[in-house]
């Protein structure tokens, strides 16, 4: 969904944002994520050993699934021109089911809240993930983003 102005964004909440494209989470992605975050457990990286593990194969890191939130939110919500989003935090995130390596995931977004904040606004977006072929979502997260001007004017930044 596209928002032309900050007011449009604030007035629109709460509203559905639609659904993202599917993303395949490959072993290559999981390996790269493990290297960059030093999370090298066999349950994620060692396919041979993981076959004997609780999920009968390697699974993605929960935080890899969560970290796709930024990419997904960018697909679902186009901020007004001259504004950009800064990740402020996560109100809650749960991982109700695993993401086996090779799965496809996507997310349905809902803009839950949009409140004016100094020089911009603060938005709360729910992302409800879905895994192709699975009934339970692999992740449900409520993500907080600060929407701030790309080129702050002196007026906009004064307290």
């Amino acid at each position: 969904m596209r928002f032309g102005t900050l007011d449009d964004l604030v007035r629109a909440a709460p509203t559905g944002l639609g659904v993202t494209d599917w993303e395949t989470i490959s072993q290559h992605d999981v390996d790269a994520f493990g290297r960059s975050t030093r999370a090298l457990e066999w349950i994620h990286l060692d396919g041979r050993k993981a076959v004997e593990g609780p999920f009968a194969g390697p699974v993605a890191h929960g935080f890899l699934t969560l970290a796709l939130a930024t990419h997904f939110q960018t697909q679902l919500l186009e901020l007004p021109p001259v504004f950009f989003g800064v990740n402020y935090g996560v109100r809650s995130a749960r991982f109700p089911s695993p993401v086996p390596v090779g799965s496809r995931v996507r997310a349905t977004g809902t803009l839950l809240e949009a409140e004016p904040a100094p020089s911009g606004c603060r938005i709360l977006v729910e992302l409800r993930y879905e895994r192709a072929g699975a009934a339970k979502p692999p992740c449900v997260a409520e993500v907080i983003t600060l929407v701030v001007p790309t080129d702050p004017t002196p007026e906009a930044t004064s307290p």
Binding site: R38, A39, F63, G89
Partner: protein, 157 residues
């Protein structure tokens, strides 16, 4: 990783006894631009404030590139194993988190460490225990934390 686990938590009874206590603090880990670039590739988040060194030098309010908030968070599990390992249980899984706040930017090249406390350990009624850990990410040149979160792990006896 610079240090070994300073603490072992011996089973669920020991875990319950430590509710309300600080468990410990990890060694330092450096978060460099290469790590940030790798994280951008795998998560699809190529926003310029993380990866465009030249533009950040000119335009970023933070004075340089900064780590993704989710990269900081994702370093948490490994740093927490370094602080304390839970022994005498079959496994713990990442159940989720509450109240993650990215309170200060982490500049590329900075060092990061994790302080761990235990806020709660609640019996779920099915034999498992839900532990609520207090995570505080700190960097060297800043008094206030870079990030805080309540991390939830589900522990199978």
């Amino acid at each position: 990783m610079t240090t070994k686990a300073t603490n072992a938590i011996n089973g669920l009874d020991d875990l319950r006894r430590r509710v309300g206590a600080e468990i410990g603090v990890s060694g330092w880990v450096k978060v460099d631009q290469g790590t940030i670039d790798d994280f951008a590739r795998v998560t699809g988040d190529h926003q310029w404030i993380h990866v465009d060194v030249e533009r950040c030098r000119r335009e970023s309010p933070f004075g340089g590139t900064i780590a993704h908030g989710y990269l900081i968070l994702s370093l948490g599990p490994t740093l927490s194993y370094e602080v304390a390992q839970l022994e005498g249980v079959s496994m713990g899984i990442n159940y989720g988190l509450d109240r993650l706040r990215l309170t200060s930017p982490l500049r590329a090249g900075s060092r990061l460490r994790l302080r761990v406390g235990l806020a709660a350990a609640d019996d779920k009624g099915d034999g498992t225990v839900l532990a609520r850990w207090r995570w505080t990410f700190e960097t060297e040149d800043l008094e206030r934390p870079v990030a805080v979160a309540e991390m939830l792990s589900k522990i199978y006896p």
